[in-house]
Amino acid sequence: MSRFLRLVARDLRLALRQGSDATIAVMFFVLCVVLFPFGVGPEPNILARIAAGVIWVAALLASLLSLERLFQTDYEDGSLELLSLSSLPLEAAVLAKTLAHWLVTGVPLIVAAPLLAVLLNMDAEGFGVLVLTLTLGTPILSLIGAIGAALTLGARRGGVLLSLLILPLYIPVLIFGAGAIDAAINGLTPRPHLLLLAGILAAALPLAPWAGAAALRQAVE
């Protein structure tokens, strides 16, 4: 097994044994969406109209929840120093940890989303696109979040700082994610939105580990 997969496996094992991160993110996601019918009233047309946006905003917030912990525990117990001294390049280590984070927190969101779409009376035309946009979008959220998590490492109130730093960067993902679903529901093609999302993912995949590793080197020093 390669070093990269070893690190992914170790992070997954840590997450499964601790158990909290994955369930908290998806529980928060569900609760956040369920609050909307109480707030805006149970009118089916209104809920159907806002469903795509609500699910996407809730997904953004849910993925933020556990990001602070991405490097925090490794930083505090000295593992990060050893990781940066290992023969696995730090960029690969950042990518591995981000991948593990996405598997633990992003994938459950994708699974839960169609259920919430039914709850919000979303048009059935949008279901497939919803899952597709989340599949393309949640890895971007984890990747951009990894940069923020690395930058705010060691800062006091790092979690709040992280949200302020990262949420504005999530806006393009939100626009194209919700836009694709709206387009599909209104009978237009979601293709341009999906292509743009895929483009952002393709850019974030090499850039985020690179930027995150640079920030981690500063933190370890």
Binding site: R10, L14, R17, E81, L82, S86, S87
Partner: protein, 227 residues
């Protein structure tokens, strides 16, 4: 045979000059003991040697080749034991250790990890989760990393903290064995660790305060002499 040496090393932490003009040289089988009061830069020097910290000035060389030319290669030669034990509370001792062994490229990390725990005299903690380990056991687990993932150069930052007397004696034996095989050891310590034939490096010799104060007082006198 490899030689690890540093010349003209200067280290800056924040805006404080920790040491300047530091020189050292370790040959195969050599040991270097870093001595000095708190804050004299023992940990900083070890971090510089590991490549975690960039020196402000000066170079590190391995066999005359600058370490900075190939940091990846240098990392594969180094095992660093710092103040923190890097033990995950939810993983068992073997899982903790096997991960680091695997990351260093061991063929059978779990077997390496068990053998290393045996050597450190704690085979019984193999299946115990990190959160139930005592401070001394965590330290032994951290030191077992040196055996589970072998490297030519050991950088040890106060390795005997929390260890009992028997463990210190055991650890001295491991250091002697590593050196007999041509390995190098750099360690900082406040307790006595026997390193026969090892050199000592007094870091307070390289702290810039003394010079600064002298220079400062001279300036002051000159200024005072003008009126």
């Amino acid at each position: 045979m490899p030689v690890f040496a540093g010349s003209e090393l200067t280290c800056l932490r924040g805006d404080r000059l920790v040491f300047t003009g530091l020189e050292f040289r370790i040959g195969p089988g050599g040991a270097l003991v870093l001595l000095g009061p708190n804050g004299s830069g023992k940990s900083s020097l070890l971090r510089v040697m590991a490549g975690l910290l960039k020196p402000l000035r000066g170079t590190l060389g391995w066999d005359g080749v600058a370490v900075a030319e190939d940091p990846d290669l240098h990392r594969s030669r180094v095992q660093y034991v710092g103040h923190l034990d890097a033990v995950k509370p939810v993983l068992t001792a073997v899982e903790n250790l096997a991960f680091w062994a695997a990351l260093a490229g061991a063929a059978d990390p779990a077997a390496n990890a068990r053998a290393a725990l045996d050597r450190l005299g704690v085979p019984h903690i193999a299946g115990v989760p990190g959160r139930y380990l005592s401070a001394g056991q965590k330290r032994r687990l951290n030191l077992a990393r040196l055996l589970a993932a072998p490297a030519a150069l050991w950088l040890l930052d106060e390795p005997t903290v929390a260890l009992d007397r028997a463990a210190i004696a055991l650890f001295e034996g491991l250091i002697a064995e590593h050196r007999a095989q041509g390995g190098m050891v750099v360690l900082s310590t406040h307790t006595d660790i026997a390193t026969p034939g090892g050199e000592e490096l007094h870091l307070d010799d390289f702290t810039p305060y003394a010079d600064d104060e002298e220079a400062g007082s001279e300036d002051y006198e000159e200024e005072g002499a003008v009126p």
